[in-house]
Symmetry: C2
DNA sequence: GTTGACATAATACAGCTGACCGATAAACCT
DNA sequence: AGGTTTATCGGTCAGCTGTATTATGTCAAC
């Protein structure tokens, strides 16, 4: 064969090409041939690395989630040893919203994936488990914040977690330009301010 | 000619069939032939009422927005003469979230539409204008609530409007079953409680 | 009863889709 | 050296897509 190639690397390269197709040309244009062209390889070569379209989609989605988690981890590390939970939550949400190129790519990918997952049992459980895991992580941060006295103890950690996750609802507003990034950040900060406000002063 | 047929009615019937396809079979299955089959008519007949796929999509989306607005109007009327703004906002959001069959159909339709609109200039401005109009309506309710003393005057109406709209972010969580309808309503009420809380008691 | 607008149907068409196959060549392992 | 594995490519296939065209049916008005 030609040079022994790193399969994982090649697959990630293809996944990135897929993201680019989804971001720049749209979900409707997502086909093996388009992805292959974007990745600069032949249709047949792509099929050598992914047996089916579904397999490619799954990998691209898992990779997107992984990359997002990495971005968050990197950001958290920059926050120092004992980061304030407010900063952690803010980071989590800003990395999930389409506020910069990387986040936008993975965000659109996720949206397309969810829409497909609604009618595919396999994708559905996969997507649900992934999001549920993220939900759990946020709830853990919230509970910890309560335990550490950063949040009023009468806050329900589950409800607060859900409200935080709901803020990803800015996504379509941002994508369509109904609101700008500054608006989203202002609103996000307002919510966090209120969440972390000491009792007696809303 | 044969029986004079009501064009508008027929088109709405087709649009409903399209919703059903999107809801039950998924966006990827959305084709003229599938819609025609779902509507119980021939492929050619459907083309008699919609010159192109794009025209059908636009109509189905406009009709969905219109139906949602109608549901909200009907609900507001049930709230009596001078409804509390909290109830109005709650109604608005519960009708936008996929909490019952009608809302779920239009919700999925909207999601698919937004995803397509990102890469089609025509659809894009159409979608943005529609959402911006809804945003304006919510802001008006918020401003009115402040003027009437239901909301603390130091609330920024724009930020509060954005935070309310962001609550549509529950949609994917509900659709995938990560959270249940009760969770969404609990969180929604918690947010409204906090929004309408008098100053000095968060 | 002929005309003509409208409703419905059937089919053709060019394009793209994903899955699949075979050929070729390069690199590895005995 | 010879056999095996891996990589890449090109092409075929049936199926579906949106669009376009044509044919047939239907009924009101003249």
């Amino acid at each position: 064969m030609p040079k022994q190639v790193n399969h994982q690397e090649r697959r990630e390269e293809i996944a990135r090409a897929l993201w680019r197709v989804v971001e720049q040309r749209g979900v409707t244009r997502l086909s093996l041939r388009e992805v292959a062209q974007e990745a600069g390889m032949s249709h047949g070569q792509l099929q050598h690395y992914f047996a089916s379209r579904a397999a490619l989609l799954c990998f691209a989605m898992d990779f997107a989630a992984e990359q997002t988690a990495d971005r968050v981890d990197r950001g958290v590390r920059e926050l120092g040893d004992r980061p304030h939970p407010r900063d952690v939550l803010r980071l989590l949400l800003t990395e999930m919203l389409p506020l910069h190129a990387d986040a936008r790519a993975t965000s659109r990918m996720s949206a397309a994936y969810v829409l497909e997952a609604l009618h595919d049992e396999g994708l559905r459980t996969r997507a649900r488990d992934g999001i549920a895991q993220g939900r759990e992580l946020v709830e853990q941060v919230v509970r910890r914040a309560i335990a550490d006295g950063h949040l009023r103890p009468d806050r329900d950690p589950v409800t607060e977690t859900h409200l935080l996750l709901a803020l990803t609802g800015f996504t379509p507003l941002l994508e369509l330009g109904v609101i700008g990034p500054a608006d989203a950040l202002t609103a996000l900060d307002a919510h966090l301010d209120r969440l972390f406000a000491p009792s007696g002063q809303p």
